[in-house]
């Protein structure tokens, strides 16, 4: 096929066709594109990456907002939280009516009930009840009516912005005000004296710092803790303290504003003619106004259901994925970097260095290292940084071995010889010549390493030794769900599914990349 002649002189073969050089990367990409599963996996991984990166701007509910009324609602695409709450309540009441002997059912159904799971039994009575077969007594009916009323009227407020009319006659966001001004505003709102408020907020900030320090230094003795806390309180800068004070005061003012908004809007909601969600500017007094978004609390829809404290499963899965995927990627990168450095030095320098480094690797390899990670997590406290650190420490071994082997096989080749004769330092030879040449293997290995890393993280979180609430990871979500899986199967199903799909995709992608970079390995593991 004749190509468009470029102005540059190009090599041409005997049929006058242009000879084009093909890099390893381009060649691998061509082979990868033929692998349908791998391409599909790339799409899946991109979607997951998109969801986790943009989790905070997606139109989903907060992952840590607790609404106790919404506890354990089943997933539904069409029904709102209010309808589901009502359904749950009715199931409960109908079943109680049966227990009290107020419901007549056929004898064969009675037998069948014994075999049914709780969910099926509830569904059975719900069906009878909705068809009008169960009479509720007045107190039950009253309970239901009250609930229906609450569902229709209860509001939730999201305060977008609070503005304050400054002395210059301009509205400014109160977050930009000074501690003094905020204290003044707040004292104006609640009518307490300025000095009282100052003392109170100082106390709260101290408490905040104390609690924070306690969480960070979990497990030290009491005296030690007291010393650390005193130290922490002393060393905090005025600026940092002011920041905390401002945050405390702003949230206090916001609470007041919410009360105002509630007074203002509750009547509107009860009247029933306005449609929600509603965004309104509420004037608290002549200098303070706030932009408030009011939504009906029970109009929410939970596509994936809710968990034991009424948190939205969908957003918990997305945020959990964020944590899991981040630990998978960052952990893999860290462990691969450590492995490359150790492996490259061992391989290139050889001799005693190689011997010592590889014996260390051998010994750690022989350890039941997951058990050591478990001990480390149990002892040094359960937070994401520790988890990540503990996993990275134990997982660089295989990379080190692999890179070492690769470097040994490359270090006597001509291009290295050439570099050496030009006077390149060992560091330069390793990182400019040897490592880039083993990069394809390293990339392939890393891709297969990510799912393994995610599995390890989830494994620990499942045991309760990894990520802890309010944060979530796929492992901790599954771990939480195991307890009530007969009654609330969705809590197990969705995180498990989300995780499995991602792990599948990563494994397929890793396999695809390996086949693409090294076609001869097609039939190896």
């Amino acid at each position: 096929m004749a190509k468009v002649k470029s102005t540059k002189e190009t090599a041409v073969n005997e049929f006058d066709q242009e000879i084009k050089g093909n890099s390893l990367g381009r060649d691998a990409w061509r082979r990868l594109k033929k692998n349908k599963m791998a391409v599909a996996s790339i799409f899946v991984v991109v979607i997951y990456a998109f969801l986790s990166i943009f989790a905070s701007v997606l139109p989903i509910y907060s992952y840590k907002e607790i609404i106790l009324d919404h506890q354990h609602l089943r997933p539904s695409l069409t029904k709102t939280a209010g309808e589901l709450m009502l359904e749950k309540k009715k199931k409960d009441l109908y079943f109680m009516a049966y227990k009290d002997g107020r419901v007549e059912i056929p004898a064969e159904d009675k037998e069948a009930l014994k075999e049914m799971s709780p969910n099926q039994i509830w569904a059975y009575f719900y069906e009878i009840g909705e068809a009008g077969g169960i009479e509720l007594n007045t107190s039950e009916q009253r309970k239901l009516d009250r609930m229906i009323e609450d569902i229709e009227t209860e509001l939730m407020f999201d305060i977008k912005k609070i503005n304050y009319l400054s002395d210059e006659g301009k509205f400014v966001n109160i977050e930009k005000l000074s501690v003094g001004q905020l204290t003044e505003i707040y004292s104006g709102l609640i009518g307490a004296s300025i000095s009282d408020i100052m003392v109170q907020s100082e106390k709260e900030v101290t408490l905040q710092i104390t609690n924070q320090t306690k969480v960070e230094n979990d497990g030290v003795s009491d005296e030690e803790m007291a010393r650390i806390i005193a130290n922490e309180l002393e060393s905090i800068t005025t600026k940092a303290k002011d920041k905390l004070l401002i945050a405390t005061l702003v949230s206090k003012i916001a609470n007041q504003v919410e009360d105002y908004a509630e007074d203002d809007l509750q009547a509107v909601a009860e009247e029933g003619s306005t449609s929600f969600p509603l965004t309104k500017t509420v004037s608290v007094n002549d200098r303070l106004e706030a932009k408030v978004q009011a939504t009906k609390m029970h109009d929410r829809k939970y596509f994936f259901g809710t968990d034991y404290s009424g948190r939205d499963m969908l957003s918990r899965i997305i945020y959990g994925g964020q944590v899991s995927i981040a630990i998978g990627f960052i952990g893999t990168i860290t462990s691969v970097l450590i492995g490359i450095v150790v492996g490259a030095f061992a391989g290139y320098l050889g001799g005693k260095v190689d011997y010592i480094l590889m014996r260390i690797v051998d010994v750690i390899y022989g350890l039941p290292y997951m058990l050591l990670v478990i001990i480390m997590m149990a002892i040094f406290g359960r937070n994401i940084m520790n988890l990540f650190f503990a996993l990275a420490i134990v997982s660089w071994l295989t990379v080190a071995r692999m890179v070492r082997g690769q470097i040994i096989s490359l270090k006597n080749s001509e291009f290295v010889e050439a570099a050496r004769s030009m006077g390149a330092s060992p560091g330069r030879i390793i990182f400019k010549h040897l490592v880039p040449n083993s990069l394809s293997i390293i990339i392939v290995f890393s891709t297969l390493r990510i799912p393994a890393f995610i599995m390890m993280e989830s494994f620990l979180s499942f045991l309760g030794l990894g990520v802890s609430a309010p944060y979530a990871s796929w492992g901790s979500l599954v771990g939480d769900a195991v307890e009530g899986m007969t009654l609330y199967p969705w809590r197990l199903l969705f995180p498990a599914l989300a995780m499995t799909v991602f792990l599948f995709a990563m494994n397929f992608l890793g396999d695809g990349l390996r086949d693409a970079f090294d076609p001869q390995s097609k039939n190896q593991l």
């Binding site: 149990a378 599995m455 499942f462 593991l525």
Partner: protein
């Protein structure tokens, strides 16, 4: 050969020493002790307790004492449970874990090797595709997802098997089925994939062609010539597989409420029961080291090319 075995046996000692040292010092540098509780104890009581467990001595003396005790086979008293010492807890729960582990490993090896062979012999047919798709499921799905899902299907919805319990309970041997399948699935999958690829490679090798040329029966070629050669990568995978099964059993015992060592391990890590944690780690490591040793011996029998020098 004997020399090789002796050398390997001697080589285990430093590994074990390192394990004991690492876990001893990780635990000692940890913040908080086993006797920290909500209620702070009077100074004198605390001192007495520390004296009883020798915690008032310098760390290096404690280390020496512990090492000496372990060599005599005494893992010390438990800091949490007053009734018995660590040896008692470990040796009442260890057999249960070993039963579970051995069954799981057997399932993984037997089914993994046969599935791998089958899909290699029937390469690129539906048998091959089904087995390999199943294998990728086993690799991708973590066992703490497989466990609850199997429980949900077979115990709760179908009611065929008990959700949890152990062989001494009402359900007897039936309780073994779900935990051992859960534990073995991942290793089954890896072994099947390994077996398939090494089998394919061996089938193409020269000595198989020679065997065919000699007119040997297909079954003889397959089971006598190919199998032996193809088993090598699988055997070398057994070491990591066993380590994985030990770790995995911690989770599986949690899910299926098996009264094994893994449950103790997690509990004692939460309790900061130092001696019990270390006891469990040492026992697990000894098992692991012995398994690796056995794997090496099997390997050297299968592959005469390995030198023992």
């Amino acid at each position: 050969m004997t020399k090789y075995i002796i050398r390997r046996l001697l080589g285990m000692i430093p590994t074990l020493l390192i394990i004991i040292t690492i876990s001893f010092f990780i635990i000692r540098i940890a913040p908080g002790g086993p006797f920290d509780s909500e209620r702070s104890l009077p100074e004198q009581v605390l001192q007495n307790i520390e004296a009883k467990y020798h915690l008032d001595e310098p760390v290096i003396v404690q280390y020496g004492r512990y090492l000496f005790d372990v060599l005599r086979g005494d893992l010390g008293p438990s800091y949490r449970y007053q009734d018995h010492d660590v040896n008692f807890y470990i040796f009442t729960s260890l057999p249960n874990s070993i039963i579970l582990g051995i069954i799981a490993l057997t399932i993984a090896i037997v089914f993994g090797i046969s599935a791998g062979m089958l899909s290699a012999v029937r390469q690129n047919t539906w048998v091959d595709y089904t087995t390999m798709s199943f294998a990728i499921v086993g690799i991708s799905v973590p066992l703490f997802v497989i466990g609850p899902v199997l429980q949900w299907i077979f115990a709760m919805n179908l009611g065929w098997l008990p959700t949890s319990g152990w062989i001494d309970g009402d359900y007897g041997l039936k309780t073994l089925i779900l935990p051992s399948i859960t534990l073995s699935l991942g290793y089954f999958a890896n072994i099947a994939r390994l077996m398939r690829s090494s089998m394919l490679e061996t089938l193409r090798s020269d000595y198989i062609r020679t065997a065919k040329a000699k007119g040997l029966k297909n079954s003889v070629i397959l089971f006598k010539h190919t199998l032996k050669g193809a088993l090598l990568p699988v055997v070398s995978y057994l070491g990591p597989a066993f380590a994985g099964i030990i770790t995995g059993s911690v989770v599986v015992e949690q899910i299926f409420r098996v009264p094994g060592l893994g449950k103790f391990f997690v509990q004692s890590s939460f309790n900061r029961d130092y001696t019990l944690i270390m006891g469990v780690v040492i026992v697990y490591s000894v098992i692991l080291i012995i398994m690796n040793f056995i794997v090496d011996i099997i390997y050297s029998f299968l592959d005469p090319r390995i030198s023992y020098k």
